[in-house]
């Protein structure tokens, strides 16, 4: 085998078609950067970002139903990837519009936030199509690199909250780098064994008894991924980072930052289904179990909404992992559909929840204490209703997409007979109700005397309402989404 084997590799224009959404996001980034370079115009930058990302989403939507593209060396932009590209781009649009309100009073440059946001989105889209450790690395790090900037974005102004943003970014940077190193080391070990860096090459790992090497290699990668997904015991950064970061950045990290990794994970799992290295599956089950319990317990008596949501996201990642584990066992597509649907629902409800927080917050004043929401039901009924909807969806109550998602998870778990994990799901949901209801209850209380005026933001508010509508729509009539998801299953 000579090193020049692939020298004849060519890329035709046709090969670029599946990459169009990616290119659109890139173009958006470049366009925004240039726009900033020419003249700082906040509305224009915002508008450009939204328009560009929307375009990317529409392109991906268009490609979703098209013919399946051939697998490219680094990216597989199949229907699965396109579906999540739509989701990621749409969510990024949502975050952009939600953050509009947040930055209106910011006393420093606001435009770069959107540049970073579109770059991060680019990383996420790469992850959606990643089929290779190189693209995984690049996507992951593009996403993280932009997120560092977003998390620490308000670190400049002299306000108090900013040291928190800084702390959040530093913590995320260091820990994320450690986890990246773990992934890379594991990947290197896998490469040393199989000679391939593509996920498909994982099949070359020796399986069967006495496979410590494979197990360790895979577990190193898993640990890194578990960090990105904030699974127990790699969850510990989550609340601090969520808490300190500006709400829009948190929203971004909590939604796109999470699901992008999950998308890859699912792809890897599907590629390696036949691998069947039992210890890895067991470790995953353990991670899921502990995440569900720990996440819910940690959130139990929290008074900070961002932290509550952070902890609850730990638990939700545990729930999602159930479907991933189910995918290891089961032949059918249900577990993949379950993950897809739940990810969709997760984006909607998490974005909605953080959206409400962002909407009420600014860089000067983060409204993240539970007491800030007292009486919200009577002051801003629609916003409160939407927030309640999001929380109930997170709790998995019907009429919301979260319920259908949970139903899918249960179905996947039952299909594979994961009784213990299902029990954890039940117990975890029980504990979870407590803190979700606490927030809801606070909103129902009479409003406090002399409460400060709440901020208004039409764009963000409309996004929250759109999310609420989606939440209920796909909670009541999810058939269309279900069939779409069925068609994209790997």
């Amino acid at each position: 085998m000579t090193p020049l084997d692939y020298a004849g590799y060519t890329m035709s224009a046709g090969d670029l078609i599946p990459l169009l959404p990616l290119l659109a996001v890139t173009a958006t980034s470049i366009w925004v950067m240039m726009a900033i370079g020419v003249k700082r115009n906040y509305p224009f930058v915002l508008g450009s970002t939204v328009a560009g990302l929307l375009l990317a989403a529409l392109l991906a939507k268009r490609l979703l139903t098209g013919p399946a593209p051939e697998a490219a060396p680094l990216l597989t932009m199949d229907a699965y990837a396109q579906f999540f590209t739509v989701l990621i781009c749409a969510a990024a649009v949502g975050v952009s519009l939600l953050s509009h309100n947040y930055w209106t009073e910011f006393d420093d440059q606001r435009e770069e936030f959107f540049l970073l946001l579109s770059l991060a989105t680019l990383g996420a889209v790469v992850l959606a199509g990643a089929n290779h450790f190189a693209s995984l690395l690049l996507g992951l790090e593009t996403l993280s690199m932009s997120l560092y900037g977003m998390l620490a974005y308000p670190a400049h102004s002299k306000r108090k909250a900013n040291s928190r943003a800084l702390e959040s970014a530093v913590k995320y940077l260091i820990l994320s780098a450690v986890s990246t190193a773990m992934i890379l080391f594991g990947a290197a070990l896998i490469y040393a064994e199989t000679g391939s860096l593509a996920f498909a090459g994982l099949g070359g790992l020796p399986a069967g008894p006495g496979v410590e090497y494979s197990v360790v290699a895979l577990l190193l990668v898993s640990a890194g991924v578990a960090f990105k997904l904030s699974l127990f015991p790699f969850h510990i950064w989550t609340p601090d980072v969520y808490d300190g970061a500006p709400a829009p950045a948190t929203a971004y990290l909590a939604t796109i930052g999470k699901i992008a990794v999950f998308i890859v994970l699912l792809r890897v799992v599907v590629e390696t289904r036949s691998l069947g290295i039992a210890p890895v599956v067991i470790v995953f089950s353990l991670l899921a179990l502990l995440s569900i319990i720990a996440g819910n317990l940690l959130a139990l008596l929290q008074d900070n909404i961002k932290r509550i949501l952070a902890y609850s996201s730990i638990a939700h990642m545990g729930y999602l992992l159930i479907a991933i584990i189910a995918a290891f066992y089961a032949e059918g597509p249900i577990s993949i559909e379950a993950v897809s649907f739940y990810l969709f629902a997760y984006v909607v409800m998490t974005l909605g929840a953080f959206g409400v927080v962002s909407l009420l917050s600014s860089d000067a004043l983060e409204r993240d204490c539970i007491s800030d929401y007292q009486g919200l039901f009577w002051r801003r009924p629609w916003l409160a209703a939407a927030f309640t909807g999001m929380l109930l969806s997170l709790a998995g109550i019907p009429l919301t997409a979260g319920f259908i998602g949970k139903f899918y998870l249960v179905l996947a778990g039952v299909e594979s007979g994961l009784w213990l994990l299902l029990a954890a799901l039940v117990v975890g949901s029980g504990i979870g109700l407590y803190y979700y209801l606490r927030i809801v209850y606070r909103m129902l209380l009479p409003e406090p005397e002399g409460a400060p005026q709440l901020r208004q933001g039409t764009a963000g508010f409309s996004i929250v309402l759109v999310l609420f509508v989606l939440l209920v729509l796909f909670g009541v009539y999810p058939a269309s989404l279900m069939s779409l998801i069925e068609s994209i299953a790997l």
Partner: protein
């Protein structure tokens, strides 16, 4: 040229990785922490080179190049954050960043 057993290269990478981890774990000075991270990333690069050399492929080196890119970007952002932190707290003690907890 004598061939070197793969395990030796990997073991070296493992040792460097662990040393880097110890550095991240024990140092309070954030600059040291960042340096230790570089050690860890470098160890990963080494592992890729070792693996690439086993298969006589360029992919290992390509991964190394990518890691290099990553490390550079990481350091740039990390140092940027350190500068901000130093401005705000006048120290590089990582423990001052413990306002967020609970």
């Amino acid at each position: 040229m004598g061939a070197i057993p793969v395990e030796h290269g990997l073991i070296l990478a493992g040792i460097l990785f662990s040393l880097g981890l110890i550095g991240v774990l024990t140092r309070r000075n954030i600059v040291f922490v960042l340096m230790s991270l570089e050690v860890m990333l470098n160890a990963c690069g080494l592992a890729f080179i070792v693996a690439g050399s086993r298969w006589e492929q360029a992919d290992g080196q390509i991964m190394f190049v990518l890691i290099l890119t990553l490390a550079a970007a990481e350091v740039a952002v990390g140092l940027g954050l350190i500068i901000q932190m130093y401005r705000r707290f006048q120290t590089v003690d990582i423990n001052v960043l413990s306002e967020l907890k609970g």
